[in-house]
Symmetry: C2
Subunit: 329 residues, 2 copies
DNA sequence: TTGTATGCGTTATCAT
DNA sequence: ATGATAACGCATACAA
């Protein structure tokens, strides 16, 4: 077709249609113009295969209809589904997603925030592991799962309630000696509340519990040792375990079974996140499901609709329990 | 609202530094200027927290350093990992990723291609299910897994070789009666070659095989029926099955085990893709692993480096076999 | 080397 | 309602 002739501009369309530049602009933006003019412009647009240049438009209007999303990676099913939901929510509002994977690296996170800012995005949604993240006031930012302070809105699921729910379910299912296992950052973040909720329920219901908590990047073997220590004569001290994530729950089930402990007959296990096989099939384990579509929708809503300045500084969305084979039905 | 003071521009920096506009531009682009000037500009930049406006820059230079990626979704582990790899490759070259999820909808795919074009991206990488996708010549496009014709480069793994490899492995492991199960599009696409490779190896090695192929969106129960038909007296007719994807292999294993057929003792199963638990743990099943990092790197390379016009129209990257518990070790 | 002026493609403010 | 024109922020050819 167009032999390397650069893309047509509004001026070309105006000439082709025999109208003024401003008229073309109006047609492209749905501003009413005379019927005959509109038709001529539309014909010219079709003929030239014209597309508005969003860079010129963005420069002029200072609105880019683009939102930056920062997550550690996409291979973790939880992040993948989160991004999937965010993409849907943004798309439904005619916005585009600029995606950055930070690989848990605080330096990269900071770098990408700067990049996003100079990209003049309409907003940033991030799931950050950088406690000292610096963000310019000029671009709205919503955080997922990490509370940075009152000035930056944070959206998360009800981690505390989820912890409670997990403990309550296990106890309701007959467990009388619980354990909580966590791997995670020492930084204060919302998921840490899972433990607090768990403890609160255990104490309210007067059920004994044991905690095993290690830092990020600790090898899983630490948990295996912990379990082995509590294995006496082929029988585990606990009859119910709440794992801070489905990934940990999955590994725990494997360990236990390899030790000859039956799941869920001997010990019941509940994870957290709601991870499904291939994204939409069975749950990996009995789990507390995070409301990812609602989390995504809430983030997008805050970025695009609210003034954000007086948005609530923390929004917790309700979780639910889902059976996934590692608890008694 | 904080200070509605709009973001500083180059002009502000120039004034602050007491230099001319052009000088600031040069500094920002690493073009040599007098040492003292450079320092003053850098100080002003830091003081004002200045960021170049990439929209103005893009308008001027016609380079956006942005590539659009179109995939059906992110919840499927295969797509998630692909996007993850693409993101890494793009990032390594200082490019940004605009991500679109098409949900397998041809209309949406077309819409997003148009959106990407008007976004003036430097290129488009897509995994499309729209056989009639229309794409303007003005923006380079690379396709993954679907061959659109000589004018659009296509990158895929060696599906034919993978099919052969699966059959060879099964036979090498003692199988003497194979089956191939496929769910997929009738459209000609590269993954269809998995079947051809499988057949080719079976015939070369003189091992009988059976094919079961259904269209996309057919419920899995079709395969379950197929298996049940071939179950005689608790014993399956086949001792080896090649499933076109890991997702199908996973479901097949479940069905068979629920029918009392042991995997891998009675029947061995090989899938395709190389899907791992939580993205980086064990393989879901014995599988043919797609070289996602290399596929991603190749796509990015073609988009950014080559003239693309005389890029090869089809690139097939080597696959490998990985043990995942559903074959004899 | 540094500064000045022009234009990228669009929107928006004007007269008409 | 329509058409001319001035920005938007930056890069760059050209002048100093």
């Amino acid at each position: 077709m167009a032999e390397t002739t650069s893309a047509p501009t509004m001026k070309d369309v105006a000439r082709e249609a025999g109208v003024a530049l401003g008229t073309v602009s109006k047609v492209m933006n749905g501003i009413p113009v005379g019927e005959s003019y509109r038709v001529r412009v539309e014909e010219a647009v079709a003929k030239l295969n014209y597309r508005v240049n969003s860079y010129a438009k963005g420069l002029k209007t200072n609105r880019t209809y683009t939102v930056a999303v920062l997550v550690p990676n996409l291979v973790s099913p939880f992040f993948a589904k989160l991004v999937n939901c965010l993409n849907r929510s943004l798309s439904a509002r005619k916005h585009r997603m600029l995606l950055f994977a930070t690989d848990y690296d605080p330096a990269q996170e900071q770098e990408y925030v700067i990049l996003a800012e100079q990209q003049k995005v309409d907003g940033i949604i991030c799931l950050s592991y950088n406690p000292a993240l610096k963000v310019s006031e000029s671009v709205p930012l919503v955080s997922i799962d990490r509370y940075f302070g009152a000035q930056i809105p944070c959206v998360s699921s009800d981690n505390y309630g989820g912890g409670r729910l997990a403990a309550e379910k296990l106890i309701e299912n007959g467990c009388r000696n619980l354990a909580f296992m966590r791997i995670g950052s020492k930084l204060t973040n919302e998921p840490n509340k899972r433990k607090d909720g768990f403890i609160s329920a255990c104490e309210a219901l007067n059920v004994p519990y044991t905690l095993k908590m290690v830092d990020d990047f600790t090898p899983y073997s630490a948990f295996e040792e912990f379990l082995r220590e509590h294995l006496r004569g082929g029988k585990l001290d606990f009859d119910g375990i709440f794992c801070v994530t489905d990934a940990l729950a999955y590994q725990t089930v494997r360990s236990l079974r390899s030790m000859g402990v039956r799941v869920p007959e001997d010990v019941q296990i509940i994870g957290f996140d709601g991870t499904q096989y291939f994204g939409d099939q069975d749950y990996f384990c009995s789990t507390i499901v995070q409301p990812l579509p609602e989390i995504a929708e809430t983030c997008v809503d805050m970025i695009l609709e609210k003034g954000l300045s007086k948005a609530p500084s923390l929004v917790c969305l309700p979780v639910m329990y889902a059976y996934g084979g590692t608890t008694k039905a």
